[in-house]
Structures are given as C-alpha cells and as structure tokens.
C-alpha cells in the first residue's frame, strides 16, 4: 500500500499545476468573491451605487477636458458614449490587474497560516471584478439605449456585438496574467509597487480609451497597434457604436498574447507561491 495523497518535496515541475485541486476548493472561491463584494458596501450609505459614481464622474471630466478643451475627435460619436464605453471596459482591465497584482502582499497573513491553492485569490478577484463590471456595464447600456431611442443615427450597432463576451474574457485574461506576474515579482522586489499605479495610468494613454485609433498620425500607429489591448478597446466600441475598426487578425493577436502571457503568469505565480512566505 503506497497511496500517499500528500507529497511535499522541495521542487516541483514547472508545469505541475493542480487544477483539480482548484476545483475541489470551488466553495472557497465563492466565499472569497462574496467576501470582497460584501465588505465593499458594509457601513456605506450608497452601497453598490459607488460603482457607478466613479465612471460617471470620470466621463464628465473627460468630456470637459478631452472633449471640450483639447477637442480630441471621437469619430463624430457622442462624447458621453465614446468615453463611457472606453472607461467601462478599461476599468475592468485595470481593476483586474491592480487587484491581482497585490495578491501576495495583501494576503500574506492568510498565506502564512494555511494552505489552499493560491490561484483561488486572483481568480476570486477577477470574478468579483466582473460583478462590478456588469454594474457599470448596465449603467452604460441605459445611457446607450437612451441615445438610440432619442433618434441618434450616427450610432450603428452591428453583428460584432456577439463578440462582446470575448472582449470581456480577453480583458480579464490579460489583466489576470499581468497581475500574476506582478504579484510574483513584488514579493521580492517591492520597487515594482511604485511602478504599478502610474504604469496602469500610462498604459491607458497608450491604449485608445479616450481617442480613436483613426486620429493617430500614420507613423505612430504601429506602436498603438502593437498594444494587445488596442483591438479589444476598438472592437468593443465598434460593436456598440459602429465607428472605428474591426479585424479578425487584430483580435487573434490579442488572443494569442493573452494565452502566452497567462501561461507564463501561472508558471511564475506557481513557483512563487511555494516559498514566498520566506521572502515577503
């Protein structure tokens, strides 16, 4: 009889990731999601409405600064819709990235005391982020429908609306992968935390959130298009608003990028989780 169920050794194979174990801990995943949702609006008056206030205020500010003062083109689309759609999908990415990037540092206390598949935490973060995203997304839909029914003819929704779930998955996947890599590196090199906040901010300007790709001068276009987030932002806006550009190649590029980044992210994360408590 040699049926040991637990085997702890110094080194594990790079690809030895126990996905079955994550499935066994699915109730924990649920509890973490519940925890992060509940605790946000305990002892607040507005509760989940706060999720809407943020994109609302940001859109108002963008309309004022980029739309009215800087007069950046929105391809003729209503500025409110253009900015709001960009902010809503971008927020989901930056939220996923930011939350998962702090996995090890914010949960060091728990990780130091008990074992469970660590990947549960970032998975819970992106899932609870998804709930927040849907609240903001519904808000966008309401504003969107208002424009449609008030007879705006520039807006042309089209069949690529069917790809919206794909865009959401891509955003979650890239945010998760980047967050996994970041969280693994920050356990040892704390400097990266300083980079994170303004890094995400800068990345937003390198992504067509507040401007359409069509306004970029030809010689810089290649840099913006090299950004794997560009096709997602463009595709999302194209689906709802009809302006901009859609191509399968660009989408495949983003998808490929996500798969590779996620692959490395999970490997690095998995290697870090085994000993991070000694270095944190």
């Amino acid at each position: 009889m040699n049926n040991y169920t637990i085997d702890i050794t110094p080194k594990k194979h790079l690809l030895d990731i126990n996905f079955k174990e994550i499935w066994l801990y699915r109730d924990l995943l649920y509890m973490f999601i519940k925890r992060s949702i509940i605790t946000v609006y305990k002892q607040t008056i507005l509760g989940p409405i706060w999720f809407i206030v943020q994109p609302l205020m940001t859109t108002a500010m963008y309309v004022l600064v980029f739309g009215q003062i800087a007069k950046i083109s929105t391809d003729g689309l209503p500025q409110v819709l253009f900015y709001l759609s960009g902010i809503v999908i971008w927020n989901y990415f930056s939220e996923s990235f930011n939350q998962t990037a702090h996995t090890f540092t914010t949960n060091a206390q728990i990780f130091g005391k008990v074992y469970f598949p660590r990947l549960i935490i970032p998975l819970a973060e992106i899932t609870s982020g998804l709930i927040k995203f849907f609240i903001q997304f519904s808000f966008f839909i309401i504003i969107y429908l208002y424009f449609i029914f008030s007879g705006n003819t520039i807006i042309q929704p089209n069949w690529t609306l069917a790809l919206v779930p794909v865009y959401i998955v891509l955003m979650a996947g890239i945010g998760l992968a980047a967050g996994l890599i970041f969280s693994s590196l920050t356990t040892k090199y704390r400097d990266l935390n300083h980079l994170l906040t303004f890094g995400i901010q800068l990345l937003m300007y390198a992504t067509p959130v507040i401007y359409p790709v069509s306004t970029i001068p030809e010689k810089y276009k290649i840099f913006i298009q090299a950004n794997p987030l560009t096709p997602i932002l463009e595709g999302f806006k194209y689906a709802f608003l009809g302006a901009g550009h859609f191509s399968w190649d660009a989408l495949a590029y983003s998808g490929g990028f996500m798969v590779i980044l996620l692959f490395f992210g999970i490997i690095i994360f998995h290697q870090t989780e085994r000993n991070f408590i000694d270095t944190v």
Binding site: I8, D27, T39, K42, K113, V114, Y115, F116, I277
Partner: protein, 424 residues
C-alpha cells in the same frame, strides 16, 4: 506494522538571515549562474551554520532552521513537539502545512491534513460570525455543505450563539478564539497539526479545547501533531514526543522521557563525577574557563544537607580592571533560583594568569532537583566580559523530611526551626 500515515524523510529548511532587500537581484543572479549554469553548490548556503540564535548573525548568512528530520507516525499517534524558542518547531509545522516548501527532503502523508497555526484564519471583521464560519471553514478545506451540516455543533461548541449574526469586529478576543477553534475542531481531518493556539482563551476553554483534541485522537483514531511550551498540556494530550534542538531531532520517544530529556537538555548534560574540563570550549578574548568541579561540602553525595562546593579554574586575559565572577543557578523547570557574584579583583587590580575561585552554597538551601549553572564574568559589575549559559549541571539528591519520602515541592528547602507552645 502498517504503512505510516505521515512519513518525513531528511527534511531540511534553509533560511537566509539579515535583511532581504538591496542586493538581492545580484545575489539571485549570482546564485542562478553558479547553480544552474555552472552546476556548482549554492554559493550562499555554504556559510549555513547550525541554527543557534544566541550567536550573532553574519550578514547574508544562511541558516538551517531544520536539518535532516526523519519521522514516521502511525494513524492515531499523538505526537508532542517540544523545544526552545527557535528550535525549529514552527518551521516544521509550516512545512507540514505547506505554507512554505522544504529545502531538501520529503513529506508524504495520507488523507486530509489540516493545520491550526492560528485560529480564525481569514476572519473578516466586517462579516458576521455566521459568514466567518463559512469563510474560515472553506479556507481550511471544508465544503460548504459540510459546514452547513455541522453549523449547529460549531455554534454550540463555541458558545457564541447569541452573536452569530453580529460582525466579528464586535466580538471580544476570547469569543473570536472560541469561534475559530470551534470551526477547527469540527474539521475532521485524518491529520491535525496544532500550534500553540491554546495559549489564548480562558482556563475553561483551554480545558475544553484539550478535551476535544483528546477526543479526536482517541475516539476517531486521528493523528495529531501538537506543538506547545505548556508541558502539562503536552503531557496530558500526547503519547509520544519529539524534542528539537537547534533544528535537529534531539530525542524521540515516550512523552514523559521526551519532556525529561528536554528539561535536562535545557540544563546541558550532567557529568558523572561532576568535573568538567573545557579545553578551549569556554573561551573568548577575555576569559578561558579551564575546569569546573562540583563537590559536596560534607560527606560524599550531593544532597540537601551536604552543601555544594563549586570550584572554578580559569585563565584571566585582562589586567588592571575591576573584575567579578557571577553565577546563576537555574532549576530544571527553568526557574532562576539565585544570581550571585564575587568581585575578585577590586580597584582595577586584575592580573593575568590562572585563578581558582571556590564558591560554597550552604546546606539546606537547594531543594532536591536538577540544576544548571550560568557563568558570567563582568567588569566593574556593569560590562559582560564572558557569559555562558548552562555551562554545567548537577543534581541534588533528596533527603526525606520525617517520614515523607517524596520530594517536597518548591525551589528551596531551607532548614526551618520551629517552636511549639501548647497549652492543652
């Protein structure tokens, strides 16, 4: 004998001392280069020494927190792990709980293993007691349905039924611990790893907790590994014991023997004729202790009425200072009996060379017990020139008091004179 439920082979854990900060990237690259590319030994682990926290750490030094531990446990065994602070107990528990991974060696186990390094892990102050039961339970690996079926038992055991729907931040610390332990107690794992979590909570709860653990091991045949400084708790709960000394296994066996070993070891090894020659084992830049002899003042055996004569031969390396010799007598259970000194060189007239000092502890002072001695040399009764704890140890035999053959309790056993006036 059947297959062990836990099998630990050559388990070691290397830790790095000092700050982990600047320079780590260059260290990492250097190590990666040496080990992965040149296939050499890790350049930083070579300086790794035995884990002795009393020595001052070198910068960047690595230390073996745990070294070559081998252990096999059968289902139903209850093992107590004892040792001084820093002996590696918590490291062993961390490895067992998979919080961190070993540097070498292997642990294999059968069945579900739950570790209680802390009670109430994952409790969120804003969530209610009920929500936290689910949170903590799932963190420990329980399924939701499983928790629901045991909810009543858990609440009952914890005794906080009234506060179940109140946020945990309104709980007293005792209530939080009760709730946390109640959840853990209903885990029903095959192997339970428990750290000194019972130190908190009131006496009634501690009793309840120990009772629950006994229950778990006796009636369900579960395996328990228990770490504690509380010898009484260890003794009442465990059948076997393991003593860790500086990261290595010092003793393994029956719990009573293990506790004795630990307490004697705390006092260092005794010596048959109470005569220690140190060579250069007890030497520093100021002092070299050559030998210590401990003899009865009267008679041939060290007992309560014999008195103790301690003779210390040493070589003094500093001249022209005011110098003293101080010694402490510590009992087996780590109680400091006294601290006493002798200024042997007054007015800065210390001399180089050999010295012999004899100290006499009067008869009828020390009770029958095992004692160890800490030896210090000081300058001007302020600066420590030399210090060695547990430098030697000796035992005082009992002398029965009247017809009572057993050893009387207490640290000292003075000769008391009584006077009776009876007007009957």
């Amino acid at each position: 004998m059947s297959q062990p439920i836990i099998k630990i082979e050559n388990l070691s854990k290397l830790y790095r001392l000092g700050e982990v900060g600047t320079g780590t990237l260059s260290h990492d690259l250097n190590r990666w280069w040496k080990t992965k590319i040149l296939r050499k030994e890790d350049p930083y682990s070579k300086i790794g020494t035995v884990n002795d926290r009393t020595q001052i750490a070198q910068k960047g030094e690595h230390v073996w927190a745990l070294r070559d531990i081998n252990l096999e446990l059968q289902a139903g065994d209850v093992l107590g792990i004892i040792g001084k602070n820093g002996a590696g107990k918590s490291t062993l528990l961390k490895l067992l709980s998979q919080v961190t991974s070993p540097s070498t060696g292997r642990i294999r186990a059968r069945g579900r293993m739950a570790s209680l390094l802390e009670v109430g892990t994952g409790f969120h102050p804003e969530m209610t007691g009920r929500e936290n039961i689910y949170m903590n339970g799932t963190i420990m690996g329980m399924r939701k349905a499983e928790i629901t079926s045991k909810l009543d038992e858990i609440v009952d055991f914890s005794g906080v039924a009234k506060y179940l729907d109140t946020p945990v931040k309104r709980y007293s610390s005792g209530m939080t611990v009760r709730l946390g332990f109640a959840i853990a107690a209903h885990l029903e794992p095959e192997i339970l790893v428990v750290d000194e979590v019972l130190a908190v909570g009131d006496a009634e709860f501690q009793k309840k907790a120990i009772g629950k653990m006994q229950d778990v091991s006796k009636s369900y045949g579960r395996t328990v590994l228990f770490v504690s400084h509380n010898m009484a708790a260890v003794k009442s709960l465990c059948k076997s014991g393991m003593v860790l000394i500086n990261g290595s296994k010092g003793f393994e066996g029956n719990i009573t023997e293990a506790i004795d070993f630990y307490q004697n070891n705390n006092a260092l090894a005794t010596n048959e004729n109470n005569h220690w020659e140190f060579g250069n084992a007890a030497e520093n830049d100021n002092i070299r202790v050559d030998s210590i002899k401990i003899n009865p003042l009267n008679g041939t055996t060290l007992d309560i009425s014999s008195g103790v004569q301690i003779t210390i031969d040493f070589f003094n390396k500093i001249k022209d200072i005011t110098e003293d010799l101080t010694f402490e007598i510590v009992s087996k259970d780590d109680v400091l009996v006294f601290h006493h000194g002798f200024v042997f060189a007054k007015d800065q007239n210390s001399k180089l060379g050999k010295h012999k000092i004899t100290a006499i502890i009067p008869a009828h002072l020390l009770n029958a017990n095992m004692y160890s001695m800490n030896l210090l040399f000081g300058q001007s009764q302020r600066y420590v020139l030399f210090k060695q704890d547990h430098i030697c140890a000796f035992e005082i035999e009992n002398i029965p008091m009247e017809n009572n053959m057993s050893i009387l309790p207490g640290v000292v056993r003075p000769a008391i004179t009584y006077a009776l006036e009876c007007h009957g």
